[in-house]
Amino acid sequence: MVTLQASASERGALRIGSGAGFADDRIEPAVQLVESGDIQYLVFECLAERSVALAELERRRDPARGYNPWLADRMTAVLPECARRGIRVITNMGAANPRAAGALVAELARARGLRGLSVAVVTGDDVLDRILERPDLPLLEREGTVGSLGDRVVSAHAYLGCEGITHALSQGADVVITGRVADPSLYIAPLVHEFGWDTSDWDLIAKGACAGHLMECGAQVMGGYFADPGHKDVPGLADLGFPIAEVHPDGTFTISKLPGSGGLVTPATCTEQLLYEVHDPSAYPSADVVADFSEVRLDESGHDTVLVRGARGRRRPDDLKVSVGYRDGFTGEGQISYAGPNALPRARLALDVLRARIEKQGIASGAARYELIGVDAVSRGIGPGTGSACDLRPGLGTAGPDRLNEVRVRVAARTDTEDGARRIAHEVSAMWLNGPAGGGGVVTSVTERIAIASVFLPRSDVTPSVTFAEV
């Protein structure tokens, strides 16, 4: 394959683009990075904690599915140009069915005449059989064992490290499709492959993990999920792009963006992402390393460019974290709005009526929430405008709840059965003709809950393997 772009060794650094930061991320920014980002790798991170369990249920319904629903769209958008430019693609969009995802990508490549493209599939993260053999395994951060989840367990996936991907790259893979892999490992793998990093050089691997951590949420490091008008303004949010990491062989790197794309890269945007979902900043564990971000320095080294230095690391954990998905009953939910004069008292009356009807029938098996969107649903009453002390302070909260011009009732309740959840939702629908005056905009839903518990499994019980799909 003809490579149009300079290799990592030619330029002394590797440029990796983020193609996605979550399952439903935008597609166009990845295309822009491929066309103008001068990147050698494009990484799509698309698996949240629960996604793989939901994908597993989909795979059981249809053995040809169970991968990210945007896989074909994303690959169709970038693959021909990636192939032309020699940009290698790494993604966990395989979710619960990496083999089917690999076959689909190979088929797409064939249909576009990309003969010779090498599509690798990394498996081994599905450890359901091993977990079920070990009912004594304790659940993390809560009471109970795998056995206590009984026959409700539907999936178990280990967070693999970088080794499967690096092996695939060493075999010449142009596209690497995985299921569950620790998010930073998707970015560590190309660094290990290109620079020949020793995977037991913990400081070096931690620098790769730091780059991966900053990149794995896509636009979040460059002004996505950041704008607060008048306080934190983000230029061109509508045209927000995705970030580029330029990593040097010693592990120092910059985060930057395409000139002309929306967003911004500053120490502030990078600080939010560096510490995002990190608990102890000096000990952030993942499959390849325990990273220490506590002395990381973020320096503006150019326009929309931040230089990142100072991550260190310690030996990787001996065990791999495993997410166990299990069926956890159902949720029934309904919402209805009230507006105009006296909206709030009518909404409160609606809640009282709903609570009385639901409690009388005993259909909510466990917890239930009766709340008002616009008053206390996401805030639980914290802050100004909700009757708190802040309302008495001038200039802080002038819209007391009694003056609300519209408010939305929300009822959500947990049930053991789907029928119970239907009946919860049905009670909210019934407010059309059986509640206070002027209710509108009823929306209801019935959802089976797939919950996640975590366990540790010894690394020796998990064997990544790499296969290649025929193009």
């Binding site: 904690e49 629960r50 951060e141 809560r142 913990w202 400081d203 999920y225 950041f226 306080h231 934190k232 120490p267 502030a268 600080t271 939010e272 992402q273 560096l274 510490l275 995002y276 979902e277 608990h279 102890d280 900043p281 000096s282 000990a283 220490d292 506590s294 002395e295 990381v296 320095r297 973020l298 320096d299 230095r309 100072g310 260190r312 690391g313 310690r314 956890d328 949720t331 917890a367 239930a368 929430r369 709340e371 969107i373 649903a377 996401v378 805030s379 639980r380 914290i382 802050g383 100004p384 002390a389 802040c390 302070r393 929300r410 959500a412 309740a413 797939i450 919950a451 996640i452 975590s454």
Partner: protein, 146 residues
């Protein structure tokens, strides 16, 4: 004055644990925030999310990163079981950081200049032993539930 005037925030979630980063806009305000936004005050401000859980839930830990002007709060059991189980409209607790910025920190604050760290100063020489982190931020733990 609300915390929102001096700092920005981002919330994350892992299981039933919420994490909130509070970041000073200006380096000179960090010592003030460090003094005012304690783990206890965060626990009180967000009590509606932290109370009523099981043992060990409701705990708030704080980590300090002065060179980044940042405080990290880790809130155990704040997410009604976590994104997969919560009945909340905001199952991830993504709004918690913004709610924390609504904390009233009083008015009349003199800028504290004497001990303000420079944001992103030159990094020190990398310390040698990776097994003993040099970072010395206090880990404030509150096991008691109110």
């Amino acid at each position: 004055m609300l915390l929102h005037a001096l700092a920005h925030a981002r919330s994350g979630d892992k299981g039933n644990v919420s994490d909130i980063t509070v970041i000073a806009y200006e380096a000179r305000d960090f010592p003030l925030l460090r003094g005012l936004v304690t783990a206890e005050r965060v626990q009180r401000h967000l009590a509606a999310f932290l109370e009523g859980g099981e043992a060990g839930e409701g705990e708030v830990r704080r980590y300090e990163l002065p060179h980044l002007g940042a405080l990290k709060f880790v809130l155990e059991g704040a997410l009604d079981g976590g994104v997969t189980r919560s009945l909340s409209l905001d199952t991830h607790g993504k709004c918690l950081g913004s709610l924390l910025l609504g904390m009233d920190i009083g008015d009349d604050h003199e800028p504290e200049s004497e001990s303000a760290p420079e944001l992103n100063p030159e990094p020190p020489e990398p310390p040698e032993p990776p097994d003993s982190p040099q970072w010395s931020g206090t880990r404030t733990s509150h096991g008691t539930r109110r």
